[in-house]
């Protein structure tokens, strides 16, 4: 460990704002960019399941 204490670690030698803001922003932006396609994939899988259920009952599909 390059720091003597947790306090020194969080203080980052006086550069706490710059270092932690960089990290926070990175986690936020990358989290957003990674989560988007995960959620869309789930949505598509739900749609696929719905379509398969409908395909199994063609009579219902024709009526709707």
């Amino acid at each position: 460990m390059s720091f003597d204490s947790w306090y020194a670690f969080f203080a980052m030698g006086g550069y706490a704002f710059y270092v932690w803001a960089s990290l926070g922003l990175t986690l936020l932006v990358l989290g957003y960019i990674m989560l988007g396609p995960v959620l869309r994939h789930r949505q598509l899988l739900r749609l696929q399941a719905r379509m398969e259920r409908r395909a199994e009952r063609p009579g219902l599909a024709a009526r709707s």
């Binding site: 990290l23 922003l25 990674m34 988007g36 396609p37 599909a61």
Partner: protein
Amino acid sequence: MSQSASSSDKKTRSKRFKLPLLIYQLASPPLFYKLSGKALPWITGLALILFAVGLVWGLAFAPADYQQGDSFRIIYIHVPAAAFSMGAYVAMAVTGAIGLIWRIKLAALVSKNCAPIGAAFTFLALATGSLWGKPMWGTWWIWDARLTSELILLFLYLGYMALQEAIEDRETASKAAAVLALVGVVNIPIIHYSVEWWYTLHQGATLFKFDKPAIASEMLWPLLIMLAAFLALFISNVLMRTRNDVLAQQLEQQAMNQNRASLSGV
């Protein structure tokens, strides 16, 4: 007569440059969907592990810089983001060109999906650079060649994405966007060499040069791990988005067939 015609036909066909067969096979959407589905958890898991290890090592265990103190630790985010903001662009342009020349639809999709994460990396490179520049240079921003060309990269990504969205027809959109991506490639060497060609506050290359890297090995290792983490994250993200597009297209096709079947059934 007919024999000679067919043989000359064969000759011209063999003269035309073709991609290796493997690329065509992998570019078949169903096979791509299956294989990428198997690889994705591993690549994503690897990305997350590398990211965690690299960050903890870089932020807590690497020694402080003798000139810049602990502010230099921003390097562990800034350099990988900047490197792959350019890497993602090159990948976007190359796959765009493959889609354009050999009409491989999957390549066009991959090209399209390089843009969001490429733009995110570019934004992060600019933002973390700004957060690093303020304590070291005394300014958030300077209109020098390195910063300006990186900003242009962000605009190229945004323009590329806007163009993809603006054109309704998928094929036309990907062709137009590929041309834009290829023209914009000229910006990549400008970004890389800007710190040598023009006067700048930005420091010179640390890693990507022909000499030995100008960094101590205790600082270098976490940086290499973070570079690998960003690369794995990029691959994972592009694969996820491309798989979604393949699935969405398949469902669209399926829905059309179902509607036709139900209409003819009535």
